[in-house]
């Protein structure tokens, strides 16, 4: 199982029946493949839909139905379409139960930076600032390090996405929960030691005496 699949399988367990969920593009979107049986969730597209579905067949696209990346997609029966103001009313009003987003950096306060690398990459924040500030729970899905360098830091060096603390970090090494006291290691990936997590992290970690192995969706 590759690192991204492991992360997606772990996060899939965080989705509860009936949840309204917003997934970022890339790794976060992989979570849809591992939904446990009996868990029916609504996927929101911030560009104006609840009820995202994959296309059943190429050639059946509709040019009026795209995802936030501009790819043409499908919709489930019972979907609902709306404008951008309503879509972000859902997000900012706390009606979205969970968002899963990628991360460039997370720091000891649980603050996320994921929208800009000044001088290099200026994509814009899109809906990220709204999602991190407004959703009930925010999970960051990311590879633990980038080119060998830790992405979990004492303090973010990149511009923050929000002043709001995220709920959970899931990497291929561990599940880490930001708390009032700092970053607590909650689960370890199969075969990973706590020393490996500490070595790959630049932030102080709270290490409970017993850390369970990461559970994964089938």
């Amino acid at each position: 199982m590759d690192a991204k699949e492991l992360i997606a399988r772990r996060i899939a367990l965080e989705l509860k029946d009936g949840d309204l969920v917003n997934l970022g593009i890339g790794l976060p979107a992989m979570v849809t493949h591992y939904l446990p049986p009996g868990v029916d969730v609504f996927f929101q597209l911030e560009n104006g839909l609840i009820g995202l579905a994959a296309l059943p067949h190429p050639g059946l696209e509709n040019y009026f139905l795209g995802d936030a990346g501009g790819a043409l997609v499908g919709a489930v029966p019972g979907a609902c379409a709306f404008d951008s103001a309503f879509s972000f009313g859902l997000i900012r009003g706390g009606h979205v139960d969970l968002t899963v987003l990628g991360g460039l950096e997370v720091d000891e306060r649980g603050l996320l930076a994921n929208w800009v690398v000044p001088g290099k990459m200026v994509p814009g924040m899109g809906g990220a600032m709204d999602l991190v500030t407004g959703c009930k729970r925010v999970i960051v899905a990311m590879i633990h390090t980038a080119k060998g360098k830790p992405k979990i830091l004492k303090q973010c060096t990149l511009p923050l996405t929000s002043a709001r603390r995220i709920s959970l970090i899931v990497t291929e090494l561990a599940v880490i929960e930001p708390t009032d006291e700092g970053l607590a290691v909650r689960e370890l990936a199969p075969g990973v030691t706590v020393e490996q997590v500490i070595a790959a992290t630049d932030a102080k970690l709270i290490i409970p005496s017993e850390i369970p192995e990461m559970k994964l969706a089938a």
Binding site: N62, L65, G66, G70, A81, S84, A85, R92, D130, P159
Partner: protein, 221 residues
């Protein structure tokens, strides 16, 4: 109440240097014919307010390709490397705005509100230079309304007097832009007689649409 207008005539109303709200999200729900005609007529120095710069060759991206966007207010430009290049080269000014804030600012402009009070952006670079207002012990960022000279919007169906209906994710910024611009020009994939679109399905009422672009000729008819 005659609103039908030729495509060329509609775009002739728009001067160089105009501010345009342009509907769409990554090109889905953008007024592609109006954008094409802006290019054909060589309009330039435009201020464009829209969610994103789409991709080169797509939607607002076509205006970027032609280097006619002097200033852009958007939430996301990362999918269009050309506008990134123009920004870094100082050829274009880009004002980035969180997507939800962008939507509310446009809505506030059209609804006569004084601004938007939001927590999004607090503690980030978005808050720099902006007023913050404490309300019942919590801080909110004051974001100002947006308006424009023209809104160029795309509908799925229009009726003969200009009532508009949208389809799926092509609704996005179009309805709020139709409230926020001095002159609203709409194009529609389909045009139907009055009464075909039921009242509950009309999202943008005809009174907001100043000009409805004539349909495209198809198979010579």
């Amino acid at each position: 109440m005659h609103k039908a207008i030729g495509l060329a005539e509609a775009v002739e109303m728009i001067p160089d240097g105009a501010s345009l709200m342009i509907g769409g999200f990554m090109g889905v729900g953008s007024p592609h014919r109006l954008i094409g005609e802006l290019l054909r007529q060589g309009r330039k120095d435009l201020t464009v307010i829209g969610n994103d710069a789409a991709r080169p060759g797509v939607g607002i991206g076509r205006l970027v390709d032609a280097k006619v966007v002097k200033r852009m207010v958007a939430s996301h430009i990362g999918t269009n490397p050309e506008i990134g290049r123009q920004m870094i080269a100082g050829e274009t000014i880009v004002e980035l705005c969180p997507q939800g804030t962008l939507a509310e600012r446009i809505r506030a402009g059209g609804y006569g509100l004084g601004g938007v009070l939001t927590t999004t952006g607090i503690g980030t670079v978005v808050a720099e230079g902006k007023r913050q207002i404490e309300i019942e012990g919590k801080m909110f960022l004051l974001e100002l309304p947006l308006t424009a000279d023209f809104a160029l919007i795309a509908a799925h169906r229009a009726d003969h007097i200009g009532n508009l209906e949208y389809a799926l994710t092509s609704r996005n910024f179009n309805p709020i832009m139709a409230m926020a611009a001095a002159t609203v020009i709409a194009e529609a994939a389909e045009i139907v007689p009055v009464g075909v679109i039921p009242p509950d399905d009309v999202v943008t009422p005809a009174v907001l649409v100043d000009h409805l672009v004539e349909r495209e000729k198809l198979n010579g008819r």
